[in-house]
Symmetry: C2
Subunit: 245 residues, 2 copies
Amino acid sequence: MAAGGAGDPAPGPLDSVLRPVRAGNGFEEALEQVLQLLRLGLVPPGERLPSERELSQHLRISRVTLREVLKVLQDQNMVESRRGRYGGTFVLPRTAAPDGSGELRRRIAAVDVEDTLRFREVLEAGAAGLCAEGLTADGEDRLRGALDATQGARLEDYRRQDTLLHLTLAELSGSRTLAAQYAAVRATLNELLDGIPLLVRNLEHSQQQHAAVVEAVLDRDPDAAREMMREHCGGTAALLRGFLA
Amino acid sequence: MAAGGAGDPAPGPLDSVLRPVRAGNGFEEALEQVLQLLRLGLVPPGERLPSERELSQHLRISRVTLREVLKVLQDQNMVESRRGRYGGTFVLPRTAAPDGSGELRRRIAAVDVEDTLRFREVLEAGAAGLCAEGLTADGEDRLRGALDATQGARLEDYRRQDTLLHLTLAELSGSRTLAAQYAAVRATLNELLDGIPLLVRNLEHSQQQHAAVVEAVLDRDPDAAREMMREHCGGTAALLRGFLA
DNA sequence: GGCTTAAGGTATGACAGGGAACCATTGCTT
DNA sequence: AAGCAATGGTTCCCTGTCATACCTTAAGCC
């Protein structure tokens, strides 16, 4: 029947469901998630990762396997381990040339950019809308805080604060799944963004849009929030499509 | 530090990323996906699943492990295996009482309904919008076909055709990730919907909304498509919240 | 009837990954 | 100076999973 032979089996309408159960040899998945942690800037340079015991519990992998992951990151000069009490695994500042030869470099070529950009826009707009529909007083505070942090951020820290703001919105959406998916797609996005220059002009424009989105959310105007957010995402998307096309 | 002790480690702001790498012991993940296949109605009752060898390749698990999965489904009277040429694993019609004691029953209690409903709405609205923005001629045909199939469906087959229509929209969005995520969330949704009655009145209303969404998409009107779809999802959500609250 | 073919059913050996215990190092507290 | 506590570093064994090959059943074809 189906013509398939080498490589993957023949495609079909069941592909949305019949995707591989595990993306890689299991340790790769863990690597992926720790990389997310770094790319999202959830643990900024200089700070300490959770201890190996904690991390392995969270990720539900053995400490042995986690250590193999950390070994890779050490070899890439992305983290550094110190022993003893108050030791731990510390994040190093990004080196200009991440690595020519390797492992981590080729991943970027495998990213389906169009998929990433579209999915991102859907999640962001959705999250903004949900936030505008039902936001707690506590949520308002967190959101304002995150926005303020981006306003005051220096250029080198901007990407990180921007990520944090969007992540906050996703978390306040009230859907844990949405937040988790956004984290994943945002990590991919940041990786792509690392390849293109950060212009002050774009940054300023971006900041205006951030303010508009947050305002719409605080005004409890879901339609406006979604619309603003879509526009915001569209800007980034156009930028990336331009640089990568 | 954190007060956690038994069970999961202490929560924190990193939880969006630090989720478990594997949802279960690996065989559970496969079970999950085969269950999706059945719940989505991608393989309707009476039909044959792909052969064990094919399925295991798609899911990237060994045949041994896959057979353990199928064993569970056989024990639940959800599928039936026949040997010999033109044999295979066949889907059985849903039994009224799925199973009192077991394994599969308790999963439903673990579902975060609010999460599911919100995430679903975001994905559906997003997919509808993306479709309306860029739909190929081929896509138009598939969409019309799926809509027609729901119009002609009998009551017992309605849920399945409905699922297929929405799944088609998700696939036509141009984001594979979106389609895969929608498949997952829809499988969960169907499981919830199985617990409540299907009223003809709701069904007719639903059909009007389907037509409206498809029309908006074919008119290339993203805003209308999103709005219609949100309304459509809102209906289901209200129904479920009412029955499960 | 006998062969071929495609499917499920079974058995075996290798290995990755997990759990748990233990060692080594460091800095704080006494 | 001694002890304690929290961390990274290491080892051992065991279970789950995989790959492979082979057996069994049943439908079609010669």
